[in-house]
C-alpha cells in the first residue's frame, strides 16, 4: 500500500510540501489541513502591498485552487487539527474526524503574542499574521488617522511604513534603543530609525506600553515613562510563539518549537516539522535554529517533503529574508546571535551598504540596505565557513564572488 501523507498547516510551508510530494512522485493520499478558511497564501504582502490596497488577495495564493485537485491534494480548509495519536498514527480534527497517516508534517507556524495589560481587551487593538488580521487593519486606514505601533521589529516596522505611505499619523513605541535592535544591532537599527524618521514616523525608544485606555474602543496608550498617546487604533507587532499545542501529550520533543534534526524529522520517526514552528538542526551553523522567514517556509517545506519520501537530504539552506520599507530594501542572509566584529562594506550613513556579522574571522550573516546583490553574493561566503581577509571584505573594489575561493588562515 502507498504511504498516506498528512500535513498540518495550510500555509506556504504546508502547500510547498504537498506540491513537492507530488512533484517527487508520492503515490498515496496527500491531505493538507488548514485552520484558516483560505487556501494557502503568502504572508509577506499582508504588511505591505496588500495592506496598502495595491494588490488583491488572490495574488498571494501559493497555488491556484485548481492546482490542488489536479495534483490530487486534498485540502481541508477552515478546520483545526486537535490531536496527534502517535501510537495509532492518526490525526484528529475538531469535527472528530480521524485521519490515518504514514508520514506526518507539522507546519503549524506560530501565533501572535498579545499584550496582556489593562485595557488590552478594548476594540481597535490589532496584531497581524493572517489575512483576516490584515483586512481588519486595512478597514482602519484613512489619511490623518492616528495609529500607535507597538514594537518595531519587522512586522511593526513594515506596518509603520505602510501606514505612513497611506498618510496616517504614526507613533511607534519600542523597548529597545532602535528598530530591529535585537536581530540587527544598533548600527543597522539607527539606519532604519533614520528611514522612518525621514518619512515622518514619531518613534519612542526605551519605553513600553503599560495600559490602553478608552471606553469600548482604545483612545489612548499609556507608557511606562508616563506618556499619554491619543490614538484611533493600535497595531502590536511583538513577535510570535510557535504553535505547538497539538503536540501536548505526545513524545514529540518540543523546545522553542518542534525540535527536528537536519532531515526535518522530529524525535518520533515518520513525523516531521518545517517552517516557523520547526527548531531545526542546521548543519552549516552546527546548532539548532528556528526562523520565521518566507524563504525558509518554502525551502524547508520542500526539504521535509523529500525526506518524507526517504530521500535523506540534509536541509542546509542559508536562511535569507527581505523587508521592504518605503523605497528601501533591507535584506539579511545567514544566522547570528552575537558577533565579535561588525564589518561594513560601503557607508552606513549613505543608506546603501552591506555589512557582515563576523565571529572568529568567519561571516555568520550579512545584512544589506539597498544592497541586495551583495547580500546574495555573500551567501556562498557564509556557507563556506572559512576565515576571510576582512579588509578585502570591506574593499568595494573587490568582487565578493572572487573571495569565495580564497582562505585567510589568520582571520
Amino acid at each position: 500500500m502507498a504511504n498516506a501523507y498528512v500535513i498540518i498547516g495550510g500555509s506556504l510551508t504546508g502547500a510547498t510540501a504537498a506540491a513537492t510530494l507530488r512533484e517527487e512522485g508520492a503515490a498515496g493520499a496527500v491531505t493538507l489541513i488548514g485552520a484558516e478558511r483560505e487556501l494557502p497564501y503568502e504572508r509577506p504582502p499582508l504588511s505591505k502591498a496588500f495592506l496598502r490596497g495595491e494588490v488583491p488577495f488572490d495574488q498571494s495564493l501559493v497555488r491556484p485552487a485548481a492546482f490542488y485537485a489536479a495534483h490530487r491534494i486534498e485540502t481541508l480548509s477552515g478546520i483545526r487539527a486537535t490531536r496527534i495519536d502517535v501510537s495509532a498514527r492518526v490525526v484528529e480534527l475538531e469535527d472528530r474526524r480521524r485521519l490515518p497517516f504514514d508520514r506526518l508534517l507539522i507546519a503549524t507556524g506560530g501565533r501572535n503574542r498579545r499584550l496582556s495589560i489593562p485595557g488590552s481587551e478594548l476594540e481597535g487593538i490589532y496584531t497581524l499574521r493572517t489575512v483576516d488580521d490584515a483586512v481588519r487593519i486595512k478597514a482602519e486606514i484613512s489619511p490623518g488617522r492616528r495609529v500607535v505601533v507597538v514594537g518595531m521589529g519587522f512586522i511593526g516596522s513594515e506596518v509603520a511604513a505602510s501606514l505612513r505611505q497611506k498618510d496616517l499619523d504614526v507613533v511607534a513605541i519600542e523597548p529597545a534603543k532602535t528598530p530591529l535592535f535585537r536581530v540587527l544591532g544598533e548600527d543597522i537599527g539607527q539606519r532604519v530609525a533614520d528611514l522612518h524618521r525621514a518619512h515622518g514616523v514619531r518613534m519612542i525608544f526605551e519605553d513600553t506600553v503599560v495600559a490602553f485606555e478608552g471606553t469600548q474602543r482604545v483612545a489612548r496608550v499609556i507608557t511606562k515613562r508616563g506618556l499619554h498617546l491619543e490614538c484611533d487604533f493600535v497595531v502590536a507587532g511583538i513577535g510570535i510563539e510557535p504553535a505547538v499545542d497539538i503536540l501536548a501529550g505526545t513524545d514529540i520533543h518540543v523546545d522553542n518549537g518542534v525540535v527536528v534534526d537536519q532531515y526535518c524529522q522530529t524525535s518520533v520517526a515518520g513525523i516531521y516539522a518545517a517552517g516557523d514552528v520547526a527548531n531545526h538542526y542546521h548543519p552549516v551553523f552546527e546548532r539548532q535554529i528556528r526562523v520565521e522567514h518566507w524563504h525558509n517556509a518554502i525551502k524547508q517545506g520542500a526539504a521535509a517533503a523529500r525526506n518524507m519520501l526517504g530521500r535523506g537530504v540534509p536541509y542546509d539552506e542559508v536562511h535569507w529574508f527581505w523587508s521592504d520599507q518605503y523605497e528601501a530594501n533591507l535584506q539579511y542572509a545567514g544566522f547570528h546571535t552575537t558577533w565579535d566584529q561588525f564589518v561594513v562594506r560601503g557607508c552606513l550613513k549613505s543608506g546603501n551598504f552591506v555589512a557582515f556579522y563576523v565571529n572568529d574571522g568567519r561571516i555568520d550573516a550579512a545584512v544589506g540596505l539597498n544592497g541586495a546583490k551583495e547580500v546574495r553574493r555573500a551567501i556562498p561566503l557564509i556557507k563556506a565557513r572559512r576565515r576571510l581577509n576582512l579588509s578585502q571584505l570591506q574593499d568595494e573594489s573587490i568582487d565578493l564572488r572572487s573571495l569565495h575561493a580564497s582562505e585567510h588562515p589568520e582571520g
Binding site: 524563504h295 541586495a372 547580500v375
Partner: protein, 104 residues
C-alpha cells in the same frame, strides 16, 4: 500586431556574462550576453517590477532578481524560483554585423 527586427545596441557594448538595458520603442528590454549568445527579455521583474539589469545577477542562463530572489531562465523567460509566478516576456534576437537586433 506585426513585429520586426530593430537594431538595439552594438554587441560589444554588452560584456560577457553581463546584462544591459535598452529602450526599444518605449519598452525597456534587458539583453544578456551568455558566452556570446544574446538573450532579450523584459527588464522589469514580473514580481514587483525591479529592474533585472540593475538588481539582477546573471549566472549562466539564470537571472536572479536580487530584490526578492525570483529567478528566470533568460532563454525562455520561465520562472525558476519564486516569489515571481508569471514569466517575463522574451524577444528573438539576431546579429547583423556588429549590431544586435531585437524583434519587437
Amino acid at each position: 500586431m506585426a513585429t520586426e527586427f530593430v537594431t538595439a545596441i552594438k554587441t560589444n557594448e554588452i560584456p560577457v556574462d553581463g546584462v544591459k538595458a535598452i529602450d526599444v520603442r518605449g519598452t525597456r528590454i534587458a539583453v544578456a550576453n551568455v558566452g556570446g549568445t544574446y538573450y532579450a527579455f523584459d527588464d522589469a521583474c514580473s514580481h514587483e517590477q525591479c529592474s533585472l539589469t540593475d538588481e539582477g545577477d546573471l549566472t549562466g542562463t539564470t537571472i536572479t532578481c536580487t530584490c526578492h530572489g525570483s529567478q528566470f531562465d533568460v532563454r525562455t523567460g520561465k520562472v525558476l524560483a519564486p516569489p515571481a509566478t508569471a514569466p517575463v516576456s522574451v524577444y528573438p534576437t539576431r546579429i547583423e554585423g556588429d549590431a544586435l537586433q531585437i524583434e519587437v
